[in-house]
């Protein structure tokens, strides 16, 4: 197959070019192979092929060298570590939100060092606080320092960015927005659509399911909570989170099936439609190498369908790799591209062995058996083909990667289908989005469950693997030899036949007959409905009061769920996601309303999640402290409040909120004329609240310090409470002995992050609490996780997420 040989030669050439520089005159040497053709017509074919292969090798090497440019002052990289300067350019990629920052790619065209401006070329990765509104096509002036990307111990970040053509980064520069929408218009529409779909998903589902759906469907991984991400690492299933060939193949299969149903196959409209849709989707995902790889291969298969030819996975993969590497030679060293290509190669070469065990699907049970075989075969094939590359790049390997993938896989197609429907439905009409969201939520929850079960297993994660390059190469040589022997030994024909026609099983499944009995479908629907009814019942208001102090790291967020099922959220945690994730865990999946959102003070450890929550939950009313706005963040909050026409109230001491059935929420601080001259006026003027219902009471003291405590003690009598939310994450400037003597709590909760840089909670506070209530009644979120108190108005129970002391 000339295509295969030429592609491999081309790839070899590019690889060789990245190591040694070859002179162009070597091209002429190919003549030594072409000239003999005249004299040796018998060997014409082989000689011509060798000549072209030779040309491809040298051409590849030259192609690589053409991308290497000398470093001069016309390149952005030249200005790395040269101090503060001004860079001007356009946002050339879709911005990505990750934890509490937004990062994007800026194509610079102008640079000014000490007011001397000059033209410049190059891309910089810029990081800004998450609430900055940056869009593709914005023209910005950045004032900051250009840095060379850092090298991490376990991750070659510098190389990772270099493979994407980025050699400089800029962290938290000052920005000036010069112009908007200067980008390529269709691309900005696509990115807008992506944002809208992401928004629709997060409105339609609770966290973390919605973040997961955004990652799987749209490639937006930044929103996934850190501890969940850890579980994915631990189980070696991060490949399921990245949009991979698998996602695209499933989507392609859906599109093709739908297009055939709609338009039939008589005219070729279905092929053209599918082609344009998968490329639209590829653009939508931001064109990561894995998706482009799958899209090119999918296109090759679709064109094979058009011209009525065989779909040869290996030839298609070789062509795809040659094309992609030819366009962007750096990609050859990109790990995700390597993994994507290798797993495809594994599927094409190893999966056919498993296909032999599957039987004709004339009975539902056989279909299940075939699915199991194919699922097992494809995961094994992918793992066998990729694990050394994972191990040598990340120095770690998860033993449960395969079983976890195998069990998670069945839900995968359902997740993609249901997420697409949810996102689309949410765009049309939100209630429809909620309805579809239920389905997606169910499959996503199954997926999460699998990941969590496997990540809970001990001793499955091998770290600090030190694999040498020669060992990896040896492994692949051995693997290739085994495959070759298997191919040539027992009945070559059997094997290759299946590799030709069955490696693209998605195309075959299109023609699979539907199950004859509708009974199976009805049974499945009933089963799903049953699950929903049970989960729904479990989340109905139970007539009790629930107070959950969320584990949001170093920050604060507390949910009060009243006996009638009203939700009051006090503060929103230190980052955009964690409070939303906790809400998703605490509230039933159908409940997405917050009747009252209280921001006790404007500092970021209390307010960072508010934008997200106002955007995605149905917030009825917002209560703010009278403290003056603290940062640019508040401008964004104001904009959002206006857009949603959200009712806002500024609170001060003396106000009272009725929560129904006699429940009351009293505002204790700050007084109408705020406290001044205290040790910290912001902390001391934050909103302290007291919740009481029948004979139980809670005191939420936000971040108040000694001065505000003294004010409270001087002015009020009703401080006594059963549960005390300890002020200011357990800082030693709060929670004085006098104060504790008046409150006399029977239990206390401290909201603090693990090993936070403030040393919260402070030893002295713990000592004081120990003296007044005893250590076994003091809950710290960093140790216990989320702490939930439940009360019937008389008695109190508590539940902690983790067993304390661990």
């Amino acid at each position: 197959m000339p295509l295969l040989y030429l592609s491999i030669s081309w790839l070899t050439g590019i690889f060789a070019g990245s190591i040694i520089a070859l002179p162009a005159w070597l091209l002429a040497l190919s003549l030594t192979l072409i000239v003999p053709v005249i004299f040796l017509p018998r060997y014409r074919k082989i000689l011509l092929l060798s000549a072209f292969c030779y040309l491809a090798v040298i051409g590849g090497a030259l192609r690589y060298q053409s991308t290497v440019q000398p470093l001069d002052n016309a390149q952005l990289q030249y200005y790395n570590e040269k101090g503060t300067l001004q860079v001007q350019g356009m946002v050339s990629g879709a911005p990505e939100i990750k934890n509490s920052s937004i990062s994007f790619r800026l194509s610079a065209d102008n640079i000014a060092v000490n007011d001397a401006a000059s033209a410049v070329r190059g891309d910089v990765l810029v990081r800004l606080p998450f609430y900055k509104e940056i869009r593709y096509g914005d023209v910005l002036r950045l004032i900051g320092e250009l840095e060379t990307p850092q090298q991490f111990d376990d991750f070659d970040y510098k190389n990772y960015l270099a493979n994407q053509g980025i050699y400089s980064i800029m962290n938290y520069p000052k920005t000036v927005l010069l112009e908007r929408s200067k980008g390529f218009m269709p691309l900005s529409w696509i990115y807008d659509l992506r944002d809208k779909l992401a928004q629709s998903l997060s409105m339609s589902m609770p966290e973390p399911q919605s973040s997961l759906a955004q990652a799987i469907l749209l490639g937006l991984r930044g929103n996934i909570p850190a501890d969940l991400m850890q579980s994915f690492y631990y189980t070696g299933t991060t490949h399921l989170l990245a949009i991979s060939g698998l996602n695209l193949t499933i989507i392609l299969g859906m599109i093709v099936t739908a297009a055939i149903l709609l338009f039939g196959r008589k005219n070729k409209l279905y092929i053209w439609l599918s082609l344009s849709l998968i490329w639209l989707y590829t653009l939508l995902t931001g064109m990561p190498a894995t998706v482009v790889r799958a899209a090119v291969m999918g296109s090759v298969f679709l064109i094979a369908e058009l011209v009525g030819r065989q779909r040869n996975s290996i030839a298609a993969l070789a062509l795809t790799a040659a094309l992609m590497v030819g366009i962007e030679p750096g990609i050859l060293r990109d790990t995700s591209f390597q993994l994507s290509a290798l797993s495809m190669l594994g599927l094409a070469l190893i999966l056919p062995y498993f296909n032999r065990f599957s039987s004709v699907a004339d009975h539902p049970l056989y279909s299940v058996k075939n699915l199991v075989i194919i699922g097992f075969g494809s995961t094994l094939a992918a793992v066998l083909a990729t694990w050394p590359v994972i191990a040598i790049n990340f120095h770690q390997f998860s033993l449960v990667s395969m079983p976890a993938t195998f069990f998670a896989m069945p839900s995968f197609a359902a997740i993609i289908v249901a997420s697409i429907l949810t996102a689309a439905a949410g765009l049309i009409w939100q209630p429809l989005g909620w309805l579809m969201g239920l389905l997606a939520w169910l499959f996503l929850s199954y997926f999460l469950l699998i990941i969590q079960i496997f990540s809970a297993l001990p001793l499955v994660f091998i770290q600090n693997i030190n694999l040498q390059l020669w060992q990896v190469i040896l492994y692949y040589i051995i693997l290739a030899t085994i495959i070759l022997i298997l191919q040539n030994y027992p009945r070559i024909s059997e094997f290759l036949k299946s590799s030709v026609s069955e490696s693209m099983s998605i195309f075959n499944s299109i023609r699979a007959r539907p199950l004859k009995s509708y009974g199976v479908y009805i049974l499945v629907i009933l089963l799903i409905a049953n699950i929903f009814i049970w989960i729904g019942f479990a989340g109905l208001p139970d007539g009790k009061l629930h107070v959950s102090v969320f584990d949001v790291g170093q920050g604060e967020s507390i949910l009060i769920r009243t006996p009638e099922g009203q939700n009051v959220l006090i503060d929103t945690g230190p980052d955009p996601k964690s409070a939303a994730v906790q809400l998703g865990k605490s509230l039933p999946f159908w409940d997405r309303k917050i009747d009252l959102l209280i921001l006790t003070q404007p500092q970021s450890d209390h307010t960072s999640g508010s934008l997200q929550i106002i955007q995605t939950c149905e917030v009825k009313k917002l209560v703010l402290s009278p403290l003056p706005p603290h940062s640019v963040f508040y401008e964004e909050l104001d904009k959002l409040v206006e857009m949603k026409s959200l009712k806002t109230v500024t609170a001060h001491a003396g106000q009272e909120i009725s929560l129904g059935r006699g429940g009351r929420l009293m505002i204790l601080t700050p007084p109408v004329t705020m406290l001044t001259g205290t040790a910290d006026d912001i902390n001391n003027n934050s909103l302290a609240l007291r919740l009481s219902w029948n004979s139980v009471s809670f005191l939420f003291t936000s971040d108040i310090e000694r001065d505000a405590e003294r004010y409270l003690m001087e002015n009020r009598a009703s401080l006594r409470s059963d549960i005390l939310k300890v002020a200011h994450h357990g800082s030693r400037n709060s929670t004085s002995d006098d104060f504790l003597a008046i409150v006399r709590p029977s239990a206390a909760v401290i909201s603090a992050g693990e090993q936070n840089r403030f040393g919260h909670p402070h030893r002295e506070v713990l000592d004081r609490l120990n003296e007044w209530i005893g250590m076994n009644r003091v809950f710290i979120t960093s140790k216990c996780g989320t702490v939930e108190f439940i009360s019937d108005g008389q008695k109190l129970w508590y539940k902690t997420e983790k067993i304390a002391g661990k």
Binding site: L3, R309, Q310, L496, K497, V500
Partner: protein, 232 residues
């Protein structure tokens, strides 16, 4: 000129979508020389009428009694092994390009056995199934075959009843019933013609006979059912 362009297009297509033997996987053609020798040919002695293997080499017992519309049926292969795979690839896996390769065997058979005809007619597909599949595999075979033996193709048959696929029926009577009145013939240029009726597979012959009935009624002089494969 168009011929040259077509050739060039073929070379380019072959480069990007290399042909592989459906039997052994060897690159080159859809059926390689070696596998070609091993194809399950339907060799004489056969019944002179229905074409089934028959030791007497004249008429088989069933054909003695029958006064059917079709004059005779011939098939190149037994529907088995690689030929079964090939027909499945052609019918269900969109491998349209293999039609030319298969039609070559049919043309060779006609030439070797000195069978004559004046016109080629493919067994049609119902419009609904045509929409589902995108093409008529018998039509593809007929076109390529006609090109090789230099005869005109006439698409004069129509499938008017969307009967269930013959492959899902169980016995001969059911099959006959299934295709009864399933076809109609447009009376154009068929009068006094020697028709070669092309289909991919013949099982009981019911489909071919139903077609032949209509062709005869429309004035055809002689109808030969000619299929690539025969289910025995």
């Amino acid at each position: 000129m168009t011929g040259r362009l077509k050739q060039l297009a073929e070379i380019v297509t072959d480069f990007f979508f290399p042909r592989q033997c459906i039997g052994c996987g060897k690159a080159g053609d859809f059926i390689c020389d070696q596998c070609s020798k091993k194809l399950p040919r339907l060799l004489p002695p056969i019944c002179q009428k229905c074409g089934k293997p028959e030791s007497s080499s004249i008429y088989c017992p069933a054909c003695w009694k029958k006064q059917g519309g079709i004059d005779s049926i011939r098939s190149v292969f037994i529907f088995n092994g690689m030929i079964r795979t090939a027909i499945h690839e052609l019918k269900y896996y969109n491998l349209k390009a293999i039609a030319a390769c298969l039609a070559k065997y049919m043309a060779d058979y006609i030439n070797e056995n000195k069978i004559s005809g004046s016109i080629v007619v493919p067994v049609p597909l119902h419009s609904r199934r045509l929409r589902e599949r995108g093409y008529n595999q018998s039509g593809l075979l007929a076109d390529e075959f006609a090109r090789l033996v230099d005869l005109p193709v006439l698409n004069c048959l129509l499938r008017i009843k969307d009967s269930q696929p013959q492959a899902r029926t169980t016995n001969v009577n059911m099959r006959r019933e299934n295709v009864k009145d399933a076809f109609s013939c447009l009376n154009k240029g068929i009068v006094d013609q020697q028709v070669i009726l092309i289909d991919d597979v013949c099982t009981s012959g019911a489909t071919l006979e139903a077609c032949a009935d209509k062709l005869k009624k429309a004035g055809a002089k002689h109808v030969l059912g000619f299929t690539l494969a025969r289910e025995i």
